[in-house]
Subunit: 323 residues, 2 copies
Amino acid sequence: MTDKCKILSLKETAEYLKGVENAVILTHSSPDGDTLGSGFALKRIIEILGGKAEVVCGDNVAEKFSYLGKTANLEDLDFCGKTIIAVDVADIKLMSGIPMDIRESADLCIDHHQTNKQYAKNLYLDSEASACCEIMHDLCKQLGITPDKDLASAIFTGIVTDTGCFQFTNTTSKTHIAAAELMSCGANSEFIIKLFFETKSPARLYLEKKVLENLELYFDGKCALTTLDFNTIHSENSDESELDGVAGMPRTVEGVLVGVTLKGKEEGKFKISVRTHAPADASAICTRLGGGGHVRAAGCQVTGDAETAKKAILESVAKELNI
Amino acid sequence: MTDKCKILSLKETAEYLKGVENAVILTHSSPDGDTLGSGFALKRIIEILGGKAEVVCGDNVAEKFSYLGKTANLEDLDFCGKTIIAVDVADIKLMSGIPMDIRESADLCIDHHQTNKQYAKNLYLDSEASACCEIMHDLCKQLGITPDKDLASAIFTGIVTDTGCFQFTNTTSKTHIAAAELMSCGANSEFIIKLFFETKSPARLYLEKKVLENLELYFDGKCALTTLDFNTIHSENSDESELDGVAGMPRTVEGVLVGVTLKGKEEGKFKISVRTHAPADASAICTRLGGGGHVRAAGCQVTGDAETAKKAILESVAKELNI
């Protein structure tokens, strides 16, 4: 790990990429559309500039991402003499599966997380970008590259997955301009949106049904709470990977300021996810129980049965709502 | 009703609007974000051009649309000498509640439905527009109007509601450009998206739970069918107005080509909504039962109990899937 991280401008980052001959691009663990989209977009950009690149991930990559390309096997890779570039990775800890000496030798990091830990030798950070892929689009423009269909599709993937298909508040005017340009370049928007937003596994639908069946309202409808116990999460061929986004459901109830999802872990523990609307502070609610997070999304863990966990979190919610 | 409808260009429509002194703008019954957004956007455009305008609807307008402005009471309106303009209304039949002689005297219709029946004296039709509000944006550009916050918010409303927040396949590169420009003009995008996509009534959530509880898979998982009987739809303070979009749920199941929703009408009848993924043809499935519609979304009605309705529609689905 370097002692001092050099902060690059967009122009300097573009110049840096022009000098890359052979790169290994690192993505974060629990890989999502933005880290993988950014990885494969950057690989294509480097290739267009005349270099070579491989994308790697320390975790398994879900089959649905296969249209983006094939990640390299870590065992087959020779890192010697390569430029190591991390994309969409805020913290060196978030690359489990990749050897620590490789992570520590990152030459460049391109990221949009305000919390970036500046672990790489060089960093291009744009925390206003909705997705790291929005930065990839900026780099194309800076480099004078008009994306081909595959490059446009990779960039489009990260933008739609990180913005919830242009629904989240990180979506800006610039995000829509990028989407428009990528669609004009032939991005396979219909396929990508169907894949990520219009297809649910039977297991996911089973969990959504349980969320709705177990929904309870408290404090005059200001808090909605749902419970998924361990057996529910692990029945019907479902598992924890199906839980992405489920925690957002209780907050959608009309009038609710605090949405709470209790997820049963190994016996005797509950992971609690809290999602709020302004002015309720999710972080404050979870910090009282030893957890933390952001103002609209936070989490904590409680030991005990469902009733104990429910009682503990509702007490903290009551404090936040001044009840 | 006129015998001959004059088809206008965008430029001619803009010129027409410059000459409007006092207009009544008609919206369609079961009013949605696009017809109301277009109505209030056009009212503002006419006012900016120096004229006056009122928006009317033959149906009750839901409270959630109140930020757009107030529709005029039909009883208080004097139509005499006014320019009558219909927005987002494909057919004269779709304005129930508005006196037929008023509908028949429509001077101008601005619409994006390919199926427009050309009932007005003049018509501007752009069936490539994702929403009638996208046309309002085009008109602003043609007229050299930079939308203020309220006008931008009205136009943004129709675009996000008719595209499912940029998720449906009617979303084009041009749609994203419009969204970007409207956000730059101060459209209240965060409020609007939260209102329509992140807030669900308890009644709606109850119906979604029932859709999931009653979901059945047929034909090797290629068809998902759900049933909401009359009592379910009308219990728990829910009613038919909560059903918007529910018909899209069965199609989201992984591997499903045909999603079917049976909705109980008055005793002994079922309204059936069919949603498909390519290559299954929803229109063909429903036409066999006396209904019709589009290739991805169609409907029909069957007399009989739930079992009879289910049997009838599944037979037609089987034919479509060559089973």
